[in-house]
């Protein structure tokens, strides 16, 4: 009986260690979108008044409904990326899901008549999301009867604002080929170089950790601030120490620090925690939230954006 127990315990330990070893890093989502320049050039912008300032934003929905070339390029890129074993989120489907979800939320009610909770920030967050934006632009140059296409593909990290991959160039001028043919050719010509750089970005992520952004803020209801002493040092310094000891090789930079806020950029967090579970910015910042609570009895509200951005507002939840 005792032996059986021992064997089961060892088997359980083995199972836990094996499942840990096969744990996979959190996969970033990628979505293809037309650039603002392309939308503006082709007249797919909407204008709204933001407190007296006219602001133009791209109207993706209209662009997708009216421009068949755009659909062709997005579809071709999606097809080629799926071929490479990395399926992308589709912009059009994403926008349809958002519309459907909004309609459903508006109609949803419980048996008792309660409706779904939605704060203003929840409403603001109801937009198409991706961890990496694949932003593309093309322009057609015409010289006499000849046409050529200049194609630009940029991979932009949604959180760090860095361009992590890119490919661009002008195709050979053609007398006869139609625009869709030239566009397909441009995508085929540039996608491998783009993916080469994307692969390098992923290799860097596996070697040096995921790069994230951490924002620290304070509620105005809290009577303390980040320059107040906690444990013999300013709270800001204590937070900096925690960040330093919980990043890969202590890599981060403090871009901004006042008594009310701190901004940490180029924060390299490990892909897995101590239990070998995949971690993202939120999971990692939870550690800081717990540290502040356990060490200084400070409550903090944790908010996140995708895999790479976390925000802690200190003072209450």
């Amino acid at each position: 009986m005792k032996n059986n127990l021992k064997i089961s315990f060892i088997a359980f330990l083995l199972l836990v260690s094996i499942s840990g070893a096969f744990s996979q890093a959190k996969k970033p989502t990628i979505m293809v979108v037309p650039s603002d320049v392309w939308c503006n050039t082709n007249g797919y912008m909407t204008e709204f008044d933001n407190q007296g300032t006219k602001i133009k934003v791209p109207d993706y929905k209209r662009a997708l409904q009216e421009n068949a070339d755009l659909l062709l390029v997005i579809s071709k890129i999606n097809e080629l990326m799926t071929e490479r074993g990395f399926p992308l989120k589709n912009l059009e489907s994403c926008m349809k899901t958002l519309t459907d979800q909004s309609a459903e939320d508006a109609m949803l009610s419980s048996k008792g008549g309660a409706s779904v909770n939605e704060s203003p920030i929840d409403k603001l967050k109801k937009v198409a999301k991706a961890d990496i934006w694949m932003q593309m632009t093309w322009t057609v140059a015409t010289t006499g009867p000849k046409k050529s296409i200049t194609f630009v593909l940029q991979g932009l990290d949604a959180y760090t604002d860095k361009q992590v991959a890119g490919a661009s160039g002008t195709g050979a001028p053609s007398f006869t080929a139609e625009l869709p043919v030239l566009l397909q050719e441009a995508v085929i010509a540039h996608i491998d170089n783009f993916n080469g750089q994307l692969q390098k970005h992923f290799d860097d992520l596996f070697a040096n950790g995921r790069e994230i952004i951490l924002r620290i803020k304070t509620w105005d209801s809290w009577d303390g601030d980040l320059q107040k002493d906690f444990g013999g040092e300013e709270l800001g310094s204590q937070i900096e120490k925690w960040v330093s000891s919980n990043t890969v090789a202590g890599r981060f930079s403090t871009s901004d620090a006042t008594e009310n806020m701190m901004l940490f950029e180029q924060v390299r967090i490990p892909l897995y925690d101590a239990a070998n579970k995949a971690v993202d910015a939120r999971g990692w910042a939870k550690g800081l939230q717990k540290y502040l609570k356990d060490t200084y009895q400070l409550d903090a509200k944790l908010m996140m954006k995708g895999l790479g951005q976390a925000q802690l507002v200190i003072g209450e939840k």
Binding site: Q24, A25, K26, K27, P28, L80, M81, E83, R84, G85, F86, S148, A167, G169, T170, G171, A172, P173, E185, I188, A189, H190, D192, N193, N195, G196, L198, Q199, K200, F202, D203, F206
Partner: protein, 173 residues
Amino acid sequence: MRKIVNLSSLVLFMILGVSMSVSAQARKKADKDTENFRYEIEGVGVGTQGTYLIKVWSYSKKPVVAIEQAKKNAVHGIIFKGYTGKQGVPGQKALTSNPNLENEKADFFTDFFADNSKYMKFVSVSGDGSIAAEDRLKVGKEYKVGVVLSVNVDALRKDLEAAGVIKGLGSGF
């Protein structure tokens, strides 16, 4: 008379033997050139989906050997070297970014690049395979021959990924 026949047969065998040995030596030298990256690749055009259309310049004392070696050089170059582009045709980077991959996976690549082995699956001669006069150059004692080839990069990449030689874009996630 019989003596003359015997003598001429002997001479014929000797000539045949020498020519075979020269051919074998030329092939060996061509393989060595491939290992030492002694070949040039240039983009010719944007190939069909999943392929690269390239011109490979190979060197040999025997033009036939240079033409045959071009296929090996094409696949070798796509994996390890990449190529630069020209006006209207973008260059492409090598499939691997690991500069030591050839040594690290030496066993795999020895079999892969053996004469008429697996690499042949991913390369084909473009058009009827004829070499234009300007693509056959005599440089010193050697010939420099340019052959236009189509390499099935998608299939090649998938094969290398399946063998664990290179990483896929989604691997690790």
